[in-house]
Symmetry: C2
Subunit: 190 residues, 2 copies
Amino acid sequence: MLRGDITAAIRNAVMNELAEVGYGRLSIEAVARRAGVGKTAVYRRWSNKLEMVLEIVSGVAERSVPMPDTGSFASDLQLLMFVVSKALQHRIASQIIPDLMAEAARNPQIAETLQRALRTHQLTVGEQIVGQAVKRGELPAGADPELAVDLMVGPLYWRLAVSRTPIGDDYVETLAAAVMAALRGSPPAH
Amino acid sequence: MLRGDITAAIRNAVMNELAEVGYGRLSIEAVARRAGVGKTAVYRRWSNKLEMVLEIVSGVAERSVPMPDTGSFASDLQLLMFVVSKALQHRIASQIIPDLMAEAARNPQIAETLQRALRTHQLTVGEQIVGQAVKRGELPAGADPELAVDLMVGPLYWRLAVSRTPIGDDYVETLAAAVMAALRGSPPAH
DNA sequence: CGACGACGTGACGGTTGCGTTTCGACGTTC
DNA sequence: GAACGTCGAAACGCAACCGTCACGTCGTCG
């Protein structure tokens, strides 16, 4: 019964408003104003700010990281890091993600949602490609998927979402090579 | 003329308030309330929220990362990462830093302050220890200090401040070894 | 055609914070 | 002991936003 175009306008307004002012200062009034709709239309769909943001953001976030299976660990790694780097260079995403991450540190509901939408999936992907790599003999048997994820995502996140220094054309490639070396050369965990 | 104990109480209140509600929702009223102080006392010292937060935070942040010179790159690296990991596991810091980082993405003044207080110093340290390592022959000649910093700080930041998964006793050690391998094994930049 | 429901508008009372001002109390300084 | 400046408390007018409600419009379904 709710009109789809209006819902879409609100979703869009929420994302932009989140990017501009952040979760802490996001107000329903501003969202409605920006979407060109009445507050009523918003409250008819979600009962408060938290619920609204969580539903909208997790909807967007879930279609994110792919599960690569290119046949070699090196290219799995490169593909994965390339996708992540693209995502983190998206204007809106690079504003919203750090903001929600910070907010998650003090709001368990946000934390749980992001956990489910991002981190869990990442870890699954990490286990998958590391597992395959070990099977193929490309990595030593004790290779730790959790460490692998930290090494893959950490530098990209730091550089693109936190430090925000622009990267060169071959930065991702260089970084992927470095991660490769780290995982191959590091002793098995424990 | 301003009473020092009151200034200290306000500084303390700002840090705690920042950790609890974040910059976006931080209000001067709440700071004064928490410090047990009149709003007048706050406005007598700083003229608005931004100025107050910047002055206080950068004061705290500047005495942060040391310049290690242990004689070997491996132990420089380990020391540095240990210090960073300790800092990022501090309850207050691990709440405030991601919050301000996110805020920096939309407020140039915050960005510039953090840049000066953290990133620039980090890069200097990075250049220093990588430079020494190259001189000693521990790293190939083309080793890139910027990449090194991303590899050192990124995973720690991601794991401790973003993902917030607890780390084991030897995690930092393992990570340092991985970074070591990455820097030694990676091709020279360009 | 008539009922229904979602729509935008605008207003509601209540809360919170802004930055400023006034007040009386207290402690220094001279 | 008088003058000064900081202190906390409280109030100021103003603005934003909360969540709700009443209204009139419009499109759709039956």
